[in-house]
């Protein structure tokens, strides 16, 4: 992670050529991702407690960490590619130096989070990832919607963090430690008086992370924030922001609180069902002619997808042994990887269309095939992946792993709710897809896409298609333990 730190420092100094900054950031993110490679072969830990016969560390780089870090850095990389053309188009509305600094520091926080193994580091990382994001959302000068979105995002997020901090302190009071593995062992022998305290602590800690993943009832900030933020930031939040929340949730539930699975298992299952239903129904109600409806639709659909992502974590709460729980968590990771590639791709095409159609309505996508056949085909592929229908094979199998986690855990009702939601979601995804191939209204205008945007779209498309051919690449996480 040193590369990131250096880069952030670099940015303070080099504020001259704005375009160069973008490329430096992309290179830095790519270098950081490459730096993950040598870590692949074995688990490393640092900042460990020594003595006392216990072994608990604050920073661990195991397979789970690396996979999530890869996701975070890749997501940030793609968001950076998208940002380049956005920054160029904004002509000074967005201050470039600050923008890159904030994006990178947020990515650094997000990359720290999956490696942290104690509650304090976890919360710090969460805040490092979130605080720059608030600023990013509100960065656009003189834009009322942007600052309103930032304020909404900030206030709800801070409340959630405060609640979650309170939960952490309860847990600390009950167990006397902050290290996740230690908590796991000590929670089993909490004495009767402190039991209620520990239970409340567990529940409250989860709230903060539930906010990050935009689970019901903490989902209201999503559409407004996504619409108010610059598009690449929305894409970043929808993927990296979500990844952060899920990682935190997984670490807290599966690693730290396994003995309280009877508390968080059912709670998460209900949360998952509510989240996906709320997200999908809201997406269904979007009118295609409303301003910014494309981004709104993606925002609500991302809430729905968050619901699917929660299903395996809830299933982990019902697992009878550790291996089954890890497998269920692996399903979430696999689904998140698929979702990251595909959703960023959809946002990239939305950014492309947004260059000519300022309002970015869904109805603006009518006849995209006639204007730009490749972009239309790629967007259709992404949307069908999100819907989980062939030719989006990877989307289909990612859904299959989610279903199989639910069925395996005996959560039949949740599986049925998910099934109904898949059908609801298909309606709006396919409606959008069908629109792409309609005859266009008016004369098609030839439009050249900027290189970074094209690169981002191509990268996600290649990823999506490669994964469809060899789903094993991501699905293997659903099979083997990650910790």
């Amino acid at each position: 992670m040193a590369g990131l730190v250096v880069l952030v420092a670099d940015l303070f100094v080099g504020d001259g050529k704005k375009a160069v900054l973008g490329w430096i950031s992309v290179a830095g993110l790519a270098a950081a991702a490459l730096a993950l490679l040598p870590l692949l072969d074995d688990d490393r830990s640092t900042f460990c407690l020594t003595g006392g016969g216990t072994h608990a560390c604050s920073y661990t780089a195991d397979r789970f960490t690396l996979v999530i870090q890869l996701l975070v850095l890749g997501g940030a990389l793609l968001a950076a590619l998208l940002s380049m053309s956005t920054l160029k188009d904004s002509r000074g509305d967005l201050p470039a130096g600050e923008y890159w600094f904030l994006l990178l520091s947020s990515a650094a926080g997000a990359a720290l989070l999956p490696a942290s193994r104690d509650l304090a580091t976890l919360i710090v990382a969460l805040e490092v990832a979130s605080l720059p994001a608030f600023a990013l959302v509100g960065l656009r000068h003189g834009d009322k919607r942007s600052s309103e979105a930032a304020l909404k995002f900030f206030l709800s997020s801070v409340t959630a963090t405060a609640v979650s901090l309170m939960g952490v302190s309860f847990v600390y009071a009950a167990t006397g430690t902050l290290h996740l593995t230690e908590i796991a062992t000590k929670l089993q022998e909490v004495d009767g008086q402190l039991d209620t305290l520990a239970r409340t602590g567990v529940a409250l800690t989860l709230v903060g992370f539930a906010f990050k993943v935009a689970a019901v009832p903490f989902h209201f900030w999503v559409p407004d924030t996504y619409v108010g933020a610059p598009l690449p930031v929305a894409a970043y939040l929808s993927v990296v922001g979500k990844a952060v929340g899920f990682t935190g949730l997984i670490l807290v539930t599966v690693v730290a609180f396994p003995s309280y699975a009877d508390v968080w298992g059912p709670a998460l299952a209900v949360l998952a069902a509510l989240t996906m239903t709320a997200g999908n129904v809201a997406a269904l109600r979007q009118q295609s002619t409303r301003a910014y409806s494309a981004v709104r639709l993606l925002a609500w659909s991302s809430v729905g997808q968050a619901g699917y992502l929660l299903v395996p974590i809830a299933a982990a709460g019902y697992a009878d042994n550790e291996a089954a729980a890890e497998k269920a968590v692996g399903s979430t990771v696999a689904y998140a990887l698929m979702y990251a590639a595909v959703n960023l791709g959809a946002f990239a095409v939305a950014a492309l269309v947004g260059r000519t159609q300022r309002l970015n309505r869904v109805s603006d996508y009518r006849g995209l095939y006639a204007r730009n056949p490749l972009a239309a085909l790629v967007l259709a592929f992404f949307l069908l992946c999100l819907a989980g229908l062939p030719p989006g094979i990877i989307g289909l199998f990612a859904k299959v792993t989610v279903f199989s986690a639910a069925v395996d855990a005996g959560l039949g009702w949740l599986a049925v709710v998910t099934a109904v939601n898949v059908v609801i979601a298909l309606y709006y995804y396919l409606q959008w897809t069908a629109l792409l191939f309609r005859a266009p209204e008016g004369e098609p205008v030839a439009h050249r896409a900027p290189a970074p945007l094209t690169a981002a779209i191509a990268l996600t498309a290649v990823l999506g298609i490669a994964l469809s051919g060899a789903p094993q690449l991501v699905l293997r996480f659903a099979d083997t333990g990650l910790f």
Binding site: F397, T401, V407, V423, L430, Q472, L475
Partner: protein, 529 residues
Amino acid sequence: MIGISESVMQFLLALIVVGPLIGAVAALLPAPPGLKGKSPDQAVLRHGVIVTGAVLLAALVLALGFDHDHPSKMQATTDISWIPALDVRIHLGIDGISLPLLVLTALLTFLCALYSYFKMPKGPSPKAFVALILVLESGTLATFAVLDLLLFFLAFEMVLIPMYFLIARWGGEQRTQAAWKFILYTLLGSVVMLLGLLLIGLKSGTFDMVALATDNGRGLSTSVQVIAVLAIGIGLAVKTPMWPLHSWLPDAHTAAPTVGSVLLAGVLLKMGTYGFVRILLPIAPDGMREFAPYLAAFAVVGIIYGSLACLALAKRGAKGDLKRLIAYSSVGHMGFVLLGIATMSPTGVNGALFANIAHGLITGLLFFLVGALKDRTGTTDLDSLAQESGAALYGEAPRLGGLLAFGAVASLGLPGLAGFWGEMLALFGAFKPADGLSRPAFLTFMAIAAFGTLLTAAYMLIVVRRVCMGPMPQPAAEPAPPVLADVHGYELAAWTPLVALTVLAGLWPAALLGLTDPAVQKLLTGGKS
């Protein structure tokens, strides 16, 4: 019949499944120099004919190379690990049950491509049309060739998107609604089916259909089987379609272009019944036994309901649509297929499979004919076609009229034609259902279903009476009515194989039953061959 080495057979089967997909991608690319043809549209339609023709050829060679002495054995098998994490294997193979369906699919798709080459339905560019037809073909062929539960689900889902676009883009009136109804219904069904498939796979530890069928449900507790049969059965029943889950079918058929209707009726519906035979009967027999009487009851209601709906549509002044009528008759015919399956006896299941193929041939032909009628007269509305006294197709276009009458009597189950044997065997099966099933109940079902054949005969004859017969219009009448063109050469080419096979299957049912019977015996009893 002829000896072909196993590896060639494997290659052929893989080609049959993957070939159309490659063809679909190629259809979207610009034509290479030398193959440009007269116009880009013509080139791409010709491409469709060539690809489907090649697939049909491969399927025929496969059928020739198939070891007819051991039809119960899986042949031309390929078994490669694809996604170890989910235990998904690319496991392909054919036996006496899947081979006829495979050939039927390849044949019907080829005939559709041929028909569209000359008569492209109105709508956007043929490029996408050909690509979609090819993806559809690949999906259906894969459904009949795969032996892995999750792969089966993938193939099952693969047909949804192409069919949706075929109806929504090239269809007739009300196509958008009909397309939505089609895809939402079938997707809901198939997602529920996925839950059942996962339940079976997770509880038994394998998704391999052959291993599960060999086990014959011994590895699964009865309660698991009951839940799995309920979930999978709902998914398959929507596709089949079984009354009361059929309501998407008439709309989809009415709105779909001719080629879409032919494929929908001839091939897509078969995926549902094939699933019953291939998955539910051998893998979860205990669960199936619980639900068999209900399935049979629904099937019989479907037979009567379909016939009554057709009778109502065929009545004078009912503004009945011919396509809708044939769609409802499909509900009735699929009722016979489901009744045969529900008996769980070899006779009944053989009858079901036979009726399956027969329905594909006959209904495919009928939809082609009605489509041709629509092209000529611009309507499929029975009232405006027949007016007061009948459309007099015999007089105006004798060959077309003759074919329509042939299709109708074949559909009502005239002995000597394909429709007869399937229905008769299904009824025979109901006369003596498998052990453990209530015989009196099935005898009642049999009696009602037999009454249904009577109703079928009634409405089919009414249709023939109203469309084919009637007085010739007077040549002197003013304004002179437009002359109906008789059967064109390409139409004859597309329909002759269907007519010939209908007669052949009717006169020589042993050819087909010899293939299916050993395979059915094995599926019902389990064990290795």
